[in-house]
């Protein structure tokens, strides 16, 4: 039985037995290569679920939709390892109760889909630890290294060119499971921290603050990158931040649901070299 079939059967059992009130998964998209999130609440609909190598979106963000989990019923969700890490972070930041989440874990290598064993988020800790050990590379490693080697002026010019394209649609924010603030810093206007017009200056500020707020929290699922209508390589900045917190604080985002958020904690011997 294929994983898709297995998971459909499991979803059917859970829904018909009332163990979960909803299954968040992938359905057919606008073409053969695209998948779109679907929200199933009756057992008859499980045939709509699709699971293949085109299922790349991190669906964990839907779990923090207003009111979804407030009735304390359980919700099942299809997640790749990044998504499972995101659940850990959301739980650590008290945005959801991990007990309410039933995980349909899977991973994609090449075009082969493999199932990840487990239901509760704790059961995946070995997988997450092995990802940390593997020191994941940036999505576009070549470009990333090229940027690292540039002089500050060149880097500034590179990002200036990229950010000049930004239209401040905030799709990156909407797509991100970690951007759950009811009131984002760019929505506040007293004071107005970031210019609302799409001048490059404000675009710089927006992208800097976005990356900063995701430091030590980003799981590099790539939702922001794929959502960006002008293809700014946002993931590279997030990757740089992930590298920084891993190197400086040995912090890998989302290893457990009790992990302390890296910028809300400290060690007395955090070592830096730049404070005079």
């Amino acid at each position: 039985m294929s994983i898709e079939e297995q998971y459909r059967t499991r979803a059917k059992e859970l829904l018909s037995g009332g163990a979960v009130k909803m299954v968040i998964g992938y359905g057919k998209g606008s073409n053969a290569k695209r998948r779109r999130p679907i929200f199933i609440s009756s057992a008859d609909e499980v045939e709509r679920l699709v699971l293949d190598d085109a299922c790349i979106t991190n669906l964990s963000g839907y779990l923090v939709s207003e009111g979804l989990l407030s009735d304390e019923k359980r919700v099942a969700v299809f997640l790749r390892p990044e998504g499972i890490r995101a659940i850990n972070i959301l739980a650590a930041e008290s945005q959801l109760d991990a007990e309410q989440i039933v995980i349909f874990g899977f991973d994609v290598a090449g075009n082969e889909v493999t199932a990840l064993k487990g239901i509760n988020v704790e059961e995946f800790s070995d997988i997450i630890d092995s990802i940390k050990e593997g020191a994941p590379e940036a999505a576009e490693e070549e470009l990333f290294e090229k940027i690292e080697k540039m002089s500050p002026q060149e880097r500034f010019s590179f990002w200036q060119k990229e950010f000049a394209k930004c239209i401040k649609c905030y799709a990156c924010r909407q797509a991100c499971p970690m951007c759950y603030c009811r009131r984002c810093i760019v929505d506040s206007n007293q004071p107005q921290w970031v210019n609302t017009s799409s001048h490059t200056l404000g675009n710089f500020e927006w992208n800097i603050v976005r990356a900063f707020h995701l430091s030590g929290r980003c799981v590099e699922c790539g939702n922001c990158d794929r959502a960006c209508p002008v293809n700014i390589p946002l993931r590279l900045i997030n990757h740089r931040m992930a590298e920084e917190v891993l190197g400086a604080f040995d912090h890998f985002a989302g290893t457990s649901k009790t992990q302390e958020p890296v910028l809300a904690s400290f060690k007395k011997d955090d070592s830096e070299t730049f404070i005079l």
Binding site: F158, S197, S198, I208, F212, R240, M241, L276
Partner: protein, 149 residues
């Protein structure tokens, strides 16, 4: 154009240590560069990275941040939180291409009036050598015209 460049520097300091240190520098009649505008905050933990960006947005050539030495925070650990934040923020600015040399950090206690005066002088001199932050000034100028796509 033989006139020397006078940088504008914004200093965010904590009221319990560095601001008191600045006071001491004043009452000790120490002379230091007049290029720094001090903004007093309750704690270094109160210094949001947005403050730094705002200072740059308003045309500052450099930003200076200072507070109590580790272990001396009036609120016991505000400066430890701040330190982590700066470490990450500094790496981020570097990756974006904003030279980390324009943003200086230090620990200055209430007793270190001399260190304060010296620090201001050395930062002013460093930023003067770097010159105006032209790449950023260019972006600021662009905001005078309507945004184009």
């Amino acid at each position: 154009m033989s006139e020397t460049f006078e940088p504008e520097i914004i200093a965010f300091v904590c009221t319990y240590c560095t601001y008191a240190g600045a006071d001491l520098a004043g009452t000790s009649r120490l002379k230091y560069a007049p290029n720094v505008r001090i903004i007093r905050l309750p704690c270094t933990g109160r210094i949001s990275p947005m403050f730094i960006l705002k200072a740059l947005q308003k045309g500052a050539d450099g930003v200076l941040i200072s507070g109590c030495h580790p272990g001396d925070c009036h609120f016991t650990h505000g400066n430890y939180h701040a330190r982590r934040r700066w470490m990450v923020f500094r790496a981020l600015l570097d990756f974006i291409g904003i030279p980390p040399e324009r943003i200086k950090y230090s620990w200055i206690s209430a007793a270190e009036g001399v260190k304060f005066a010296e620090f201001i002088n050395s930062v002013t001199e460093d930023i003067r050598k770097l010159g105006p932050f032209e790449q950023y000034t260019h972006l600021i100028e662009q905001t005078q015209a309507p945004a184009s796509l």
